[in-house]
């Protein structure tokens, strides 16, 4: 008799309930640990202090300003990565010769730690806004190319073959079959990549920044203001989650035709 079934269905209400409970458990564990005094304020701030920090930083406008500049950096770095990475990825996933050139290179570079590029970026690009955007770009571009290539390769051979027997040439097969067929997966890839872009924010704002959420966290560390660090980390997480959900929503609307969608 199997008691724990694999992939057993769970209705949406229960799913949401369990998700909410998991957050509540973490929150209350946090509250108890900090309120009981078991862990010092320097190591673990009280939740109410973090909330107080939010109220203060939002009302003086600093948190909003910092969020805005961070969102701007991420969006720009991400857009550059998409503009360059998507076409390169599609070509990589479509032509073996291009793949032979692009894939090994990307596989190699994507393992290089982005923060290690910071000194180089400062030398090459300087310390202005472009440097921060470049960090986001480097962090996402190589990964994006590889994932888009896989998306293009996931289009079934017979779908392309069927189009050939209906009269497409190579160019038409790419634009009329491969690209539309891979769209839902591509958008999913972009959704994941923008999530990753958020994780590079702190690295990006290591570069001589005096604004931004990542910078706020770094500055707070210098003064051991753990409540501000917590506030910054949680806000980045939230903003990442919101972008992710927005992408998911748009995907569902746009690609209603996708199987299993």
């Amino acid at each position: 008799m199997i008691h724990i079934k694999i992939r057993k269905k769970l209705d949406k209400k229960k799913y949401t309930l369990m998700a909410v409970i998991s957050f509540l458990i973490i929150l209350s564990a946090w509250y108890i640990a900090s309120a009981s005094g078991a862990i010092g304020e320097i190591f673990l701030p009280k939740p109410q202090n973090v909330i107080r920090y939010y109220i203060r930083a939002f009302s003086d406008g600093s948190l909003w300003e910092n969020s805005k500049i961070s969102i701007y950096r991420i969006t720009l770095g991400f857009i550059y990565a998409v503009i360059l990475g998507v076409p390169v990825g599609i070509l990589t996933g479509t032509f073996k010769k291009i793949e032979a050139v692009v894939r090994p290179l990307c596989e190699f570079i994507r393992y290089m730690p982005v923060p290690a590029f910071l000194p180089l970026i400062m030398v090459w690009i300087g310390i202005g806004e472009n440097a921060k955007v470049t960090v986001i770009f480097i962090g996402t571009f190589f990964q994006l190319v590889l994932m888009v290539a896989d998306d293009a390769m996931s289009v079934p051979d017979d779908l392309i073959n069927a189009s050939y027997t209906l009269g497409t040439n190579t160019r038409e097969a790419i634009f009329k079959i491969i690209i539309p067929a891979m769209m839902p997966r591509l958008m999913d890839t972009l959704r994941m990549m923008i999530g990753w872009a958020w994780t590079y924010l702190v690295s990006a704002e290591l570069v001589a920044a005096d604004t931004g959420l990542g910078y706020t966290i770094l500055k707070s560390q210098r003064f051991l203001k753990t409540d501000a660090i917590f506030a910054g980390i949680i806000l980045i997480g939230l903003l990442g989650l919101i972008t992710d959900r927005l992408f998911a929503l748009v995907n569902k609307k746009l690609f209603h035709w996708a199987e299993g969608g």
Partner: protein, 276 residues
């Protein structure tokens, strides 16, 4: 993707003398060989395949798995390359895939982002057929496959049998010179499968397209065709050409008649049954 490699033509393109001088020969396959080069040496998969398909014929190709029947069909479609030999369609050598040879695949190949009607019109749109004409042709084939009500549905809303019906309509709407079918019903349940056999036979009787039908189902081949090529395996080659002399009007009850059973026995005997 290897499919998009620029196709190197290894079939003779020059006007070598084409020996298919039969008045109405549609597809002519001569001495076709396929050799796979592997690390362990060459494997001859197909050897000296000779086939002649006449205009308006419904021809089935049957054989044990691994005899290369699907590969042969893909070669005619231009999706696979032969090592040597010729494939001629209406006096033209095949060098790659084209709209003159429509194909229905075993897997579902409808374009999921297009509605049923858009799928059917795809080839016409490529050829820049005027929109009104596209619409008329789509309507006509929707009627043929009896899916008028589903013209604005997306493939994910269709059953397997319906998807294959649309795939047939999409291929026929493009008015190809031949219709190639690669085990198109093998993923369907027996009931749907029987319905599909009737439908494709009716379509053939109405429109008389030249059809080459690959299947591993002997009954299906007999029920549908005017002629069956039986292939053997390792290496794949034509064992026998069996003309099917059954009534023109065919109902499913035909499968129970003595003559049909005789054909089934004959074809069955031709296919080697390897002991497991």
């Amino acid at each position: 993707m290897p499919l998009l490699k620029t196709r190197k033509n290894n079939l003779p393109e020059q006007n070598s003398h084409i020996e298919a001088n039969l008045a109405n020969s549609k597809i002519y396959v001569k001495d076709l060989c396929k050799v796979y080069h592997t690390a362990k040496g060459d494997i001859v998969a197909m050897k000296d395949i000779n086939i002649n398909i006449l205009e308006n014929e419904f021809v089935s190709i049957v054989g044990p798995s691994g005899c290369g029947k699907s590969t042969l069909l893909r070669m005619i479609a231009g999706l696979d390359k032969a090592t040597s030999g010729q494939i001629v369609i209406n006096d033209r050598h095949i060098i790659g895939p084209g709209a003159d040879r429509g194909m229905v695949f075993q897997s579902y190949t409808l374009f999921p982002w297009m509605t049923v009607s858009e799928n059917i019109k795809f080839g016409l749109k490529l050829r820049k057929v005027p929109p009104r004409e596209q619409e008329e042709i789509a309507e006509r084939y929707l009627k043929v496959i009896r899916l008028e009500k589903f013209k604005n549905s997306y493939p994910k809303e269709l059953s397997g049998g319906m998807k294959q019906r649309v795939a047939i309509a999409r291929a026929l709407a493009n008015s190809p010179e031949v219709l190639l079918m690669d085990e198109p019903f093998s993923a369907l349940d027996p009931q749907t499968r029987a319905d599909m056999q009737l439908l494709i036979r009716q379509i053939w009787q109405m429109e008389k397209p030249t059809i080459v039908f690959v299947t591993h189902d002997i009954e299906e081949a007999i029920f549908l065709s005017n002629k069956i090529y039986v292939l053997t395996s390792s290496p794949g080659t034509v064992k026998k050409e069996v003309p099917v002399l059954l009534p023109y009007e065919r109902e499913l009850s035909l499968k129970d008649t003595e003559k049909f059973i005789q054909y089934r026995k004959e074809v069955n005997a031709l296919i080697e049954h390897k002991s497991l």
